[in-house]
Structure formats: structure tokens, C-alpha cells
Amino acid sequence: MELHVRPLLQIQTLHKRFHDVEVLKGVNLEVREREVVSIIGSSGSGKTTLLRCVNLLEEFDSGQILLDGESIGYRIGGDRRRRLSDRALSRQRSMTGMVFQSFNLFPHLTAAGNIMLGLRKVRRLPKDEARSIAEKWLGRVGLSQRADHYPSQLSGGQQQRVAIARALAMNPKLVLLDEITSALDPELVQEVLLTVKSLAEEGSTLLIVTHEMRFARDVSHRVVFMEQGQIAEQGPPAEIFGNPKSPRLAEFLRSARS
């Protein structure tokens, strides 16, 4: 697969603390356009926090995140940094799409309504155009027949596929997937992973946090192992899973397998 050279996402020496616990200790990571990167690591390693920083759901203390060359979340002038306004943050958030562990579908809107909300209010598309985009994306995730169903009428796997369609329909530059199968019953995991795999094959740029090692291996161009708020090791999946260099990673993989 041909990869573009320019990095779409640049995370530079990112630091983040919750009270007195430092959860991110200078993370550096680049993701190129059309690249699929999976982050693995034990819980508490900071991988979900990293993703949430990229989507500006968390503030961070220092370092910076560049998306397509644009500094995200803060305006930096001289040595002062200021959090951007709600409006500016909203615009930047719409450049990335996020899929959550617990789906977070809007329960008062139908599947199509969930997808249309952002198209109508952020993209300001007319209703029928938003509707046809929603239907197109529902078709892509195999849920054409469920457009007018409410989330409570859908299975967990179907809900997560709607959430994926909701994120993708905004045509984001980068899609963040945060342990999207962790809340699913085992028999529903596969349908969601297959959906993500097809997105990856169609050239979406994905940054994935996952516990599914097999999936990370199948779908990613690159796998990143995080440990205690830092990136401990990264490389192509074959390297990471077949020939781990650090003993920590080897140990993590052993425990993940069992």
C-alpha cells in the first residue's frame, strides 16, 4: 500500500496530568494520511486519554497536537497558550471523528437522525442532502433497513455501527476508535470489526485503541505499544507481535493472549 509522506496528525511531547498523577509523559506520535495505527497497552497506560486529547475532549498541559498542520485546542502566542473558544474547538473537533466504547448514540433520535444531526447543524446541509448522506453511510455499515429505528431498538453491534457511520458521515480527516468492541457481547464483536476493516481498506485514516490483538494485527499498518504514559515500542504489526523487543511488551502480549 502506498502511504502519503506528509503526516496528517503530529503529536509532540504531549504531557497531561490528572491532579497529581501524570498520565501522559511526553508522547510523540505521527499518523500519515490513509494510515491505520493501533495503540495497545494495559489499562491505565494512557492510550484512551491520548485519543481523547486528540478529539479535544481532554485538555492537556504541554506539548502540541497538529492536525493537517493546524495546532489543535490551543492558541500559542509567545510562551503563553490559551484554550480556544467553544466555537473554534467545535470546528476542530469536527475535523476528527470519534467512536466511543459505549456508543453514546443519542437515544431521542433515530439511526438516521443521529447521523444527520452533525450534517445539519455543523455542516449546515439541507435536510434531504443530510438524509441521503445518512442513508449512504447506513448502507456502508449494512444497516440500510434500520434508518428509522431508535437506538433502543438496535442490538449493541448495530448501535456501534451506527456510531461509526455517524463519525464517518462528517467526512473527518481522521477517525479515532476508542475500544469500540469492549462493551459488546462476544458474538457481536466480529460485525463491528469487519466494518472497521472495510473502512481501513477504503483508505480512511484510523487511530485505534483496542484490546483485540488479532484485529490490531490484521488491520493496522503500524502498532504502537504504550506503557505508563509513554510510547514504549512501535512498528509494523509483524514486528510488534512476532518479535517484541522490550520485555514489557513481550509480557503484555503473553498476558493478553491468555
Binding site: 478529539n55 466555537r87 470519534m98 455543523v122 431508535y150 456510531a163
Partner: protein
């Protein structure tokens, strides 16, 4: 029984007038009170600290004070500070302030019980805070407060009887006046009671119908 009906016929205009006043007071106070309550509820959750504390104080004072005291206070106080309200306006003011505080507390609870994931998901597709409030949070909150809101409506109909104490000619005061003329105390108080009962049962039924319509499918 026959005398009751002939007396009822004689009193029909006064009763009708009182009944209309009762409905008017209830409807106006629930509508304005709800608008006020929505604002208060939103401020109680998302407002800046100082405004939030002021709203909290307002809500706690209103909820800790008997409605009759609120009505008497808003009847007597405005005139000494140079504001001239009719008895009806003063009564409405008290009912609105009372209703606003209750609804505000209910809205606060409803907003706080919405999972944070809803706001996060809305943010991640790029909605601004006012948009999140309008399209994601309030629709869910309003749906969950519906039963309590309808109940507040019935409570206001009942509380409107207290306006009789400051001389507002609503149903109960009209009934008292009628009883003062014909001395048919039991009959006419029961009749008034029946009207209140019917109005509130009507509200209850309408509320159930409304709940069925907006139930999350």
C-alpha cells in the same frame, strides 16, 4: 337537591368567572414558570459559579417557604418598593416564582442524570455548546421531566386556591361568596372540590396521553 340546582343556576356566572380565573392563573404560571425553570435548571448545572450560587439560593428559598407566604409577600411587598401590582398580578408573580424554582430543580436533576457520553459524542461531531444543549441535552431532559412537570401543573391548580386569601376572584373565592349568600356550605364546597378534581384528573389523563406520544420508542 332541587334547591342546589336552582342555586347553582343563579350562581352560574360567578362560578364560571371564578373557574376561568383559576385556569388562567394556572396556565399562565405553569407556562412562564416553566420557561423560568428551564433557565434556572440550565444555570444550576452549567452557569458560572456566582450566578449558580444565586440561583441555588433562589431555589432553596422558594422551596423552603410555604406558597401562602410567597403569595402574601408578593401581595404586600411590591407596593412598599413602589411597584403597583393588582392582587391577581401579585398572586401570579408568587406562583411563577414558586413554579420556576420547582421546575428549575427538576431540570437540574434531569440534566445531571444524562450520561456524560452524550455531551462527548455531540462534541466530537463538532456541535457547539448551545447546539448540544438544544439538540441533545434538552430534548432528553424534557422527556424525562414530563411526568413531574404534569404533576407540577396539577399542584399549581391546587395552589391557585390560595389566591383567594389575597382577594383574587378565582373559583374558591367565588364559591365562598356564593356560600355567604345562600348558606349551602357543604353543597357548594363539594361542587368546587368536584371541579378541581375533574380539572386535575383531566391534566393527569392528558399527561398520560402526552407521555405515550413522546415515549422513547
Amino acid at each position: 337537591m332541587e334547591t342546589f340546582f336552582s342555586e347553582l343556576w343563579i350562581a352560574r356566572d360567578a362560578l364560571m368567572e371564578g373557574f376561568v380565573r383559576t385556569i388562567e392563573a394556572s396556565v399562565v404560571s405553569i407556562l412562564i414558570g416553566t420557561a423560568l425553570g428551564l433557565l434556572i435548571g440550565i444555570v444550576l448545572v452549567y452557569g458560572p459559579l456566582v450566578v449558580r450560587l444565586l440561583c441555588r439560593a433562589y431555589v432553596d428559598v422558594m422551596r423552603g417557604t410555604p406558597v401562602l407566604v410567597l403569595i402574601l409577600a408578593s401581595f404586600y411587598i411590591p407596593s412598599v418598593v413602589g411597584l403597583h401590582l393588582s392582587a391577581f398580578q401579585a398572586g401570579l408573580l408568587a406562583l411563577i416564582l414558586f413554579c420556576g424554582a420547582h421546575i428549575g430543580e427538576i431540570v437540574r436533576g434531569a440534566l445531571q442524570s444524562i450520561p456524560p457520553g452524550q455531551t462527548e459524542a455531540a462534541r466530537s461531531i463538532g456541535l457547539t455548546f448551545p447546539q448540544i444543549l438544544t439538540y441533545v441535552l434538552l430534548p432528553q431532559a424534557l422527556r424525562s421531566i414530563l411526568p413531574t412537570w404534569i404533576n407540577t401543573g396539577a399542584e399549581l391548580v391546587k395552589a391557585s386556591t390560595l389566591l383567594s386569601v389575597i382577594g383574587v376572584g378565582e373559583l374558591l373565592l367565588k364559591t365562598q361568596e356564593i356560600v355567604g349568600r345562600n348558606f349551602m356550605t357543604l353543597d357548594f364546597y363539594l361542587f368546587a372540590g368536584l371541579l378541581y378534581l375533574l380539572v386535575n384528573l383531566g391534566i393527569e389523563q392528558a399527561g398520560k396521553a402526552l407521555e405515550r406520544r413522546v415515549a422513547v420508542r
